[in-house]
Amino acid sequence: MFAEFKHTMRRLRGQMIGWGIGLALYVVLMVSFYSSVARMGNLYEELLKFYPKEMMGFFSSIREINTPQGYLDIYYFNYMTVILGIFVVGACASLLVGDEEKGVLDLVMAHPVSRTALFWGRLLGFVTATAVILLVSWLSWVIPSGRSGLELTWIKFLQPFLPLFAELLLFGTVALLLSMVLPSGRMAGMTTGGLLIANYLLIGLANINQDLKPIVKYTPLHYYQGGYAVSGLKWGWLAGLLAVSAIFAVLAWWRFQRRDIRVGGEGGWRLPALPFRRRAGAGREA
């Protein structure tokens, strides 16, 4: 398992460096802007009066942009599930199936490594890589914050990262599970990415249209605190997100244990032939 963990970490090294540095630069820039935004105070509130009410509803935290939690939410945590979601969905959808589709997994599995070790080693590598990216982001908020007026302790800064981490794990494990049941990793990535973006839009739209409120409580992002976790973490929500992620991971592992591995030269499985396709095939044979 450790060999696969190390291998996954090595493979995700570029992603960790790229995402880590990119987000760190962005965060440092945002930290330096906070004192200016906070100083605007009443002026900013006057400005917001001219914003369309739909926009104010969609980005509800914009009203609190001059508070630390509002600022953190609107400039980072609100959309980081979608931004970092690109990384987690892509990484998880190809964590095992990517190698399978390239034919690499055939040779790997001829070595004395169990499917369980292969699966959990790689998943642990992905989880660690995600944690490293978030750790770099967290440090980028914490280290320069003293000079910016963002007067939060390092623990307060850490709190919103925990629900973000849990959400990313949840969507990552969904992508992993779908990659085990859908014909290709690409399809699993597209489906999970679509679900993630749809959920993000639904949450924003539910702030505008109250009829959507009963639906959103069944979606994962409803239980995402974003920057507001600075004021207090909802441990129940966090535990729930982690538990659901664990269930998806176990289901993906169970599926990986029982499925045939495609070897080099084989394509993805096909959907069952539809009646008209079967007839067309029979006509050709005749």
Binding site: H7, D99, D106, A110, P112, G264
Partner: protein, 230 residues
């Protein structure tokens, strides 16, 4: 798991992680085996196959990728080797080096199973050959046994013109061609005994048996099966 630990495997469609270096890929496979390989032996294999450890897999030619596959299959000195087309894409010199490596593995006590479409390779290396048709073993024997069981072609030259009709009446003998009744080209299925006895009545000046290659035997199996299916 225990069996896989003692087995070396080379797939026919070899695919490696293209972003790794040759050394990275070999070290990764070695880690999967619990770092059991003797790295000195790995270097020996690499040198004998003239493989550079530094380049990335994506920059390697097909032949060099195949060498990586051969090294990873042999590097832990497995007791059982399963190789699908081990010399695919290798130049003749490297093919011979792989033959040497496989003979050495066999001499060290390893059992080597390999599939090949290169019949000369099978003749050179194999102690036993199985012919597989549509996923089923249709024949299994030593290469020499297969050759002796097969159809032979015989050239016979006579001192004077003869009527070869009586030769074609021998069981298993077919006349392929004749030249002014002085020379005949025959095909013999099964034992040669009947033909030799029939030839005793003729003034024979020359006699030559064409030994079939393993390739011809292989093709004969396929052709005969095709006829049966028709």
């Amino acid at each position: 798991m225990a069996v896989r630990a003692r087995t070396g495997y080379l797939p026919g469609e070899l695919a490696l992680d293209s972003n790794m270096t040759v050394e990275g890929a070999l070290r990764y496979f070695n880690t999967l085996r619990g770092n059991k390989a003797d790295w000195g032996f790995v270097h020996q294999l690499v040198e004998r196959l003239q493989l550079d450890l530094k380049p990335h897999i994506k920059n390697l030619s097909h032949g060099n990728k195949q060498k990586v596959g051969v090294v990873q299959a042999l590097m832990h000195r497995p007791e059982l080797l399963l190789l699908d087309e081990p010399t695919l894409g290798l130049d003749p010199l490297m093919q011979h080096e792989v033959y040497h490596l496989l003979r050495e593995a066999r001499a060290d006590g390893a059992t080597v199973f390999f599939s090949s479409h290169i019949i000369s390779e099978v003749e050179t290396l194999a102690e036993r050959v199985a012919i597989i048709r549509q996923g089923v073993i249709v024949e299994e024997a030593e290469p020499s046994q297969l050759v002796s069981m097969a159809i032979r072609r015989v050239w016979v030259r006579f001192k004077e013109a003869v009527d070869p009709t009586s030769l074609t009446e021998v069981e298993g003998v077919t006349l392929l061609s004749k030249s002014n009744n002085i020379a005949v080209h025959l095909q013999v299925e099964g034992e040669m005994d009947g033909l030799i006895k029939a030839l005793a009545a003729f003034p024979v000046s020359d006699f030559e048996i064409e030994r079939p290659s393993l390739e011809e035997i292989f093709l004969a199996y396929y052709e005969s099966n095709d006829k049966e299916e028709d």
